[in-house]
Symmetry: C2
């Protein structure tokens, strides 16, 4: 294959400024993260590069859930149709999206099953068997699972028919305790998003309209994508006693009285991978924070003559072995030596760049003499090539990766600051959301669903949340002028 062929094979990435949606799809394709499964409506195949990011996310979150006292379990993916109908708001919210199994084992079923869109109902059923007394509480369960929601408009990772997620389900003896749990888990998500994904988020409450179907109160973390749109990245719900009542989950309290349990549920999904892409990647392809990068470092050996090959490769492998003995954020460094003979170095540079590997080390005959490597970070202040001596290389690599992790978060924070505004005038507000534009607006809102609906109708932007960290500041609703107690976060959202 000629170099020209390879350039073509490489494919192109549409610049963000030209077409952000196409750029997103191009990055996914060129980094080989996933592809649409056009034979299964609205679904996707998560390819190895994409799945290994998800697996890193899983392992990190799983540890955090265990540290906060939760245990994993697994419930059936099929739910009797009648279960979904037991909680009035729940069935209303989910029935348009259900996939239904009507036949099995060659026969028509007496009662159809739905593929779980979420598991509050089936878990509620089992909680009612497991919980008798206050001694059985709190019950703190998490499930890693696939779920299915038959969506009309899908977008890879962000909204697909089937997706992978975790769903926490807990039962408590008091409303207060359930609230503490729901807030705590939102905090776990926020900390994970910022520290691991380097994706800053705003924590807050959903409005009544945007609540989870069946919840008393829904909390969310909202992240800003590079185009100023919001991504709801994780939610945590105070379910009150709604599912307790629907599934008769009662316990004997310390006073000997029967009481319905107070429940929470909370989840994040493969959608996070989409958020990761849209937070950090650039016109050259994927950018990954080191804590989630499946490959931390790629070493590209460079040689002209076959005679140099063995020597350069030998040194590359030696450096790789040294680096692989290092630990970053509790995980061994993952180092690739790209020794493929059929490709030239230039091709390899682009190959790994598109895939978001945080650090590239080049090693050629001249570097052998001066016992150094040429180091180039994928992004930020590290993108300028530097010569690093073999001595102390591991420390350099580790500190550079740690610095890049921090820099990515800072840069996402800075962009968010730049694209956030406080606005009081409704016409000015509307001007922010024309022609596919978005930003984070903080505006006064009276709390009425009518004003919320008007904002959405006029601009397609929605109230993302009532931020937890906001100043109590009296003002007037941007739409109707009625009194407001503080600003809410508004943006277009995925």
């Amino acid at each position: 294959m000629s170099q020209a062929d390879k350039m073509q094979e490489r494919g192109t990435i549409t610049p963000r400024a030209e077409n952000y949606s196409q750029w997103y799809l191009d990055v996914i394709r060129e980094a080989d993260l996933a592809e649409p499964a056009e034979v299964v409506k609205g679904c996707m195949v998560i390819k190895p590069n994409g799945y290994s990011i998800w697996q890193q996310i899983q392992r990190d979150l799983d540890d955090r859930f265990k540290e906060t006292g939760h245990k994993n379990a697994y419930f059936p993916m099929l739910i009797p149709m009648s279960f979904i109908e037991k909680e009035a708001e729940h069935v209303e919210g989910f029935s348009p999206e259900l996939a239904v199994v009507t036949h099995a084992g060659g026969k028509k079923l007496e009662e159809p099953y739905v593929i779980r869109p979420t598991s509050e109902t089936i878990i509620g059923y089992f909680f009612s068997k497991w919980i008798q007394s206050w001694r059985d509480l709190p019950l703190l369960i998490n499930q890693w699972a696939n779920v299915m929601r038959w969506e009309l408009k899908t977008r890879m990772f962000l909204r697909t028919g089937e997706f992978l997620w975790q769903e926490g389900h807990t039962a408590h003896a008091s409303h207060d305790e359930a609230m503490v749990e729901a807030q705590k888990m939102l905090g776990v998500y926020a900390d994970f998003a910022e520290q691991v994904m380097a994706m800053p988020v705003v924590k807050g409450d959903k409005s009544e309209t945007e609540k989870f179907a069946g919840a008393e109160r829904s909390m969310t973390i909202e992240a800003m994508m590079q185009n100023g749109m919001a991504l709801q990245s994780g939610t945590s719900h105070d379910l009150g006693q709604n599912f307790g009542r629907a599934f008769d989950v009662r316990f004997q309290n310390r006073d000997g009285e029967l009481e319905y349990v107070w429940q929470t549920s909370w989840g994040v999904s493969t959608r996070l991978v989409g958020g990761l892409i849209m937070t950090h990647s650039d016109d050259s392809g994927l950018v990954l924070p080191p804590r989630l990068a499946p490959v931390h470092v790629v070493i590209v050996p460079i040689y002209r003559k076959a005679a140099q090959r063995a020597e350069v490769l030998g040194a590359a492998e030696k450096i790789a072995a040294e680096l692989r003995a290092q630990t970053l954020y509790g995980r061994r460094l993952d180092v690739e030596v790209d020794d493929r003979e059929e490709y030239k170095p230039g091709y390899k540079f682009y190959y790994w760049e598109r895939r978001g590997v945080p650090l590239r080390l080049e090693l050629g005959p001249r570097d052998m003499e001066s016992r150094q490597v040429m180091a180039r970070g994928r992004t930020g202040t590290f993108a300028e090539k530097q010569a690093w001596s073999w001595d102390g290389l591991s420390e350099k690599v580790l500190s550079m990766l740690e610095a890049m992790q921090g820099e990515l978060l800072e840069s996402a924070r800075a962009r968010r600051e730049e694209m956030s505004v406080q606005v009081d005038d409704y016409d000015q507000f509307k001007s922010y959301y024309g022609e596919g534009r978005s930003r984070f607006s903080y505006a006064h809102w009276c709390g009425d669903a009518a004003c919320e609906a008007k904002i959405k109708e006029d601009t397609k932007a929605t109230i993302r949340c009532i931020p937890w960290e906001r100043e109590e500041e009296s003002g007037s609703c941007m739409v109707c002028g009625k009194p407001s107690k503080g600003r809410v976060l508004i943006a277009k959202a995925y």
Copy 2:
């Protein structure tokens, strides 16, 4: 709650000699591993104690798959019905067991989907898009997923409608290479079963009759349960070019010619948890090999007076902290201090015994004075109580757990030897399988499906495999007297 109440709450475990099937269900219930999900036909809930064993299995196998060059991916769980029909034997084998989605998003679907019973077909479809040239081969993929097979007779963990598993799917440029892969992965399973699960297995080929629907050749690991029955614990298939042809997966070989790929698939499932139970557990409940035990050590503090409590608990926590810093088989020791005030020590002993915790340490006021603990292993030579000094306790604990891991394997091996026979006379053979009895028989078989069917009809025992490690020994078929080249393994099976 009185002690008597607690004794009752504890429930009973039917002795194995009395009713092995009931014993199995009792152990699952008393160790709180799982429960039937009677509202979803043939399915089960995997409770936290059961799921954490599965998660240990997953992590260990996942590392082994990665070490052998495989990468994880995720494919849709829904498969168009027409896909299943593309490979003639495949559809014949699986169609009686399919669960079918006919409606979704409030509408009847034009083409129904089935919930994957296994993913050869959908993965074949994507392989045909990903593979063009010999350069794209081998393609080595693994998937962790749930699958659904609508079975008539189910048994917890061993055979359930929905189950969790991994399925490896690989494509190769030659039949030889595919065979090497299929054999290698069976070897990975066998090594895992013996080294991690302490469950010895026989590696071998399935007969034509027992092959996977769509395979050229199926290989299996067969383990012996305590009642002499066999458990097919993992399989690896040489798919030949069958799915390559069905899904047009072709590649340009080094000579520039188009050729169908050669594929393999291989899988193990939550069935392994059932095998684990039936290999090691006893009439007192679950027994777990330390490598898979979610909790390695439980410390039970003993005190009569409230005044002693703080002191004993303090020492227990200190010992726990020291142990938690230790690593066994690459995993930190998991240590519980059972400080529950509402239960007495005797109850706690039984509680952890039923759950299979390998080592119990008791710590009372007298032990405090002599700076020791009373140690009791769950099984084998360690079941006798010993006094261990606080000095050098970590080393003692680690070496005891390692020894127990080895002893469990040896004891399972010894039992298998004891319950294995070479048999040549068919009447004698039949006598081994009356009244629910079973053992491993090694007998000559001519290779005819008719004799295989007769064995099954007469005894319910089946040819489990043609063992890889067998002596080439000429003999006569036990059933028909025709020549045979070696002995096959026969047993009743789950």
